[in-house]
């Protein structure tokens, strides 16, 4: 099996399985061995599941032999962020106080993927408690700092750190991550992979660790927009076990996507000045590619809201409630990041009126975004405004600073999109000093097909998503 297999798309791998170029057992064993040997190099591996994966692969091979085809994910290995429960196995939530927690149940998304014939080969590392209300250092994890395959002195991003680096390093064809405010888009941008944050409620969170009930989403991190569409179709859908479920399905239907020339794309000219100086030429070039797709470009501005204060208040209040017993028992002090410990404790002191105030402003925010999207179909902006920081650097500079209004340009788009429950996709759009840079496309609720269509067209015209980290280059 050549190295190309480790960087192939889901469609290509499934096609080769069906042609019997290799068996599912061979494919699963190859990826699982690679994940076990290279995963620790990036602090990306939480738990290898090789034995059970190979057993399942044997069953899938039997299905291929009988020509029982389940679809494009059949026989495809994947990894899951270690906040997704898998019955009988450890699910640590990336946090020392939960290091020995064994799940009794299996997350709905993992059951759904198993039904497609996709095979979990490992749990992937994450920032402890998905970051809680805040954290200061990349080392805020039971597994150590997530290391970036493009430069291991830099962070892979969080909180889905292992999911981002495992896909980038070719350790899994795709991974599941989760996002409360930036945890799929950030590692996707920093690691040079494609990550999709679904609309709030589209994908069941049953069996996933809760951080903020009204903001948590689960989504795929893949090699391409097309792969994100294939995975999202299989994990989306209503679930009575998830109180936040929208009860909607998703069908990846690129053949029915609206023509890009009929769509309007909002952008903020100020973003060009806001990205780090070395990234300006590539960001400008990426926007030019977006323009060349024929989509109509329209200058736009985010509605004025105190995004940082809103996001922080909602996540603090909900997160501290989720983890109240951890905090009051004192076990919270076992977490790795002192800032997160302090933030969780302080969150318990937030009053009901403060939380409700934030949630009432969120209603106004939703209405303003509906108005904004009345004249637009998507917003495009840098996924992050700088490349991945060094693991030794505090992460404070990455955050939206508190203030009465939003930052200029689209710099508040990650908290804004998460507060609004809006879907987004991050795609690689170039490199700065050898490090990937990402572009985010955000749309109205349940407009994932539109986002994927634009991202797919971008990827048809560029090859940034096909680049491999130096150690893996063929």
């Amino acid at each position: 099996m050549t190295d190309d297999v480790f960087f192939a798309s889901i469609t290509e791998l499934n096609g080769r399985l069906r042609k019997r170029e290799f068996s599912t057992v061979e494919l699963v064993r190859a990826f699982a061995d690679r994940l076990e040997s290279l995963g620790p190099k990036y602090n990306a591996l939480a738990l290898p599941l090789t034995k059970q994966a190979v057993d399942r692969a044997k069953e899938i091979d039997g299905e291929f032999k009988r020509e029982r085809y389940r679809g494009p994910l059949q026989g495809i290995p994947f990894g899951a962020k270690d906040l997704l429960a898998l019955a009988g196995y450890k699910t640590t939530w990336g946090a020392k106080p939960f290091a020995n927690q064994v799940s009794q149940d299996t997350a709905t998304v993992l059951t759904k993927l198993d039904d497609t014939g996709s095979i979990i080969i490992g749990k992937l590392a994450m920032v402890e408690l998905a970051g809680g209300p805040s954290y200061r250092m990349a080392s805020a994890s039971l597994f150590g700092p997530g290391l970036n395959p493009w430069d291991t002195s830099r962070w892979s991003g969080g909180s889905s750190s292992g999911s981002g680096s495992a896909v980038a390093a070719g350790l899994v064809p795709f991974a599941l991550g989760s996002e409360t405010s930036g945890s799929i888009l950030t590692p996707s941008a920093f690691c040079g992979v494609t990550g999709l944050r679904p609309t709030y409620g589209l994908v069941s969170r049953h069996g996933a660790m809760a951080l903020a009930w009204t903001m948590d989403k689960i989504g795929p991190i893949c090699r391409s927009a097309e792969d994100c569409g294939l995975v999202l179709e299989k994990i989306a859908g209503g679930d009575s076990h998830d109180p936040g479920s929208a009860g909607k399905s998703f069908y990846y239907t690129p053949q029915y996507a609206r023509k890009l020339t009929d769509l309007k794309c909002g952008f903020a000219p100020a973003d060009l000045e806001l990205v780090e100086p070395d990234a300006r030429p590539l960001f400008e070039a990426a926007m030019q590619v977006i323009r060349q797709t024929g989509i109509q470009m329209v200058e736009a501005a985010l509605p004025e809201f105190p995004y940082a204060a809103l996001t922080h208040t909602v996540i603090s209040a909900e997160g501290s409630s989720v983890f109240e017993s951890l905090i009051t028992s004192g076990k919270v002090n076992e977490l790795a990041d002192a800032k997160q410990i302090a933030g969780l404790k302080a969150g318990l002191e937030l009053g009901a009126k403060d939380y409700l105030k934030a949630m009432r402003i969120r209603s106004l925010l939703k209405a303003k975004f509906r108005e904004l999207f009345a004249g637009l179909d998507v917003l495009v902006a840098p996924a992050r405004y700088s490349i991945a920081p060094k693991i030794s650097e505090p992460l404070d500079a990455l955050r939206v600073p508190p203030g009465p209004t939003s930052r200029p340009g689209m710099a508040s788009l990650i908290p804004a999109g998460n507060l609004g429950g809006l879907p987004a996709i991050s795609i690689p759009c170039g490199f700065v000093a050898g490090m990937p840079f990402g572009l985010q496309i955000v749309g109205t609720p349940f407009s994932e097909n539109t986002l994927i269509a634009l991202a797919r067209e971008f990827q048809n015209r560029t090859d940034w998503h096909k680049r491999r980290p130096p150690a893996m280059a063929s």
Binding site: T214, A309, T313, A338, I341, G343, K345, A346, D354
Partner: protein, 66 residues
């Protein structure tokens, strides 16, 4: 309606509070400063949100489903 506590109940509540405080902290060196910084950040956030005008008819952005 305000509830009156007798002396024994007050003693139990005080002991529970002290036990919780003892269990929670002290975390590690410098944790008090960080905890103060976290409380200050929450206070600043609330101050920011308070300045935001909310129409009286605005309901919070969640829905209870029976």
């Amino acid at each position: 309606m305000k509830r009156k506590f007798n002396r024994r109940e007050l003693a139990v509540l005080a002991a529970a509070g002290a036990a919780t405080a003892q269990a929670q902290g002290p975390g590690r060196p410098g944790s008090e400063d960080l905890e103060k910084a976290a409380r200050d950040l929450n206070a600043r956030d609330i101050e920011t949100l308070t300045k935001f005008e909310i129409p009286i008819s605005t309901e919070p952005a969640f829905q209870f489903k029976a």
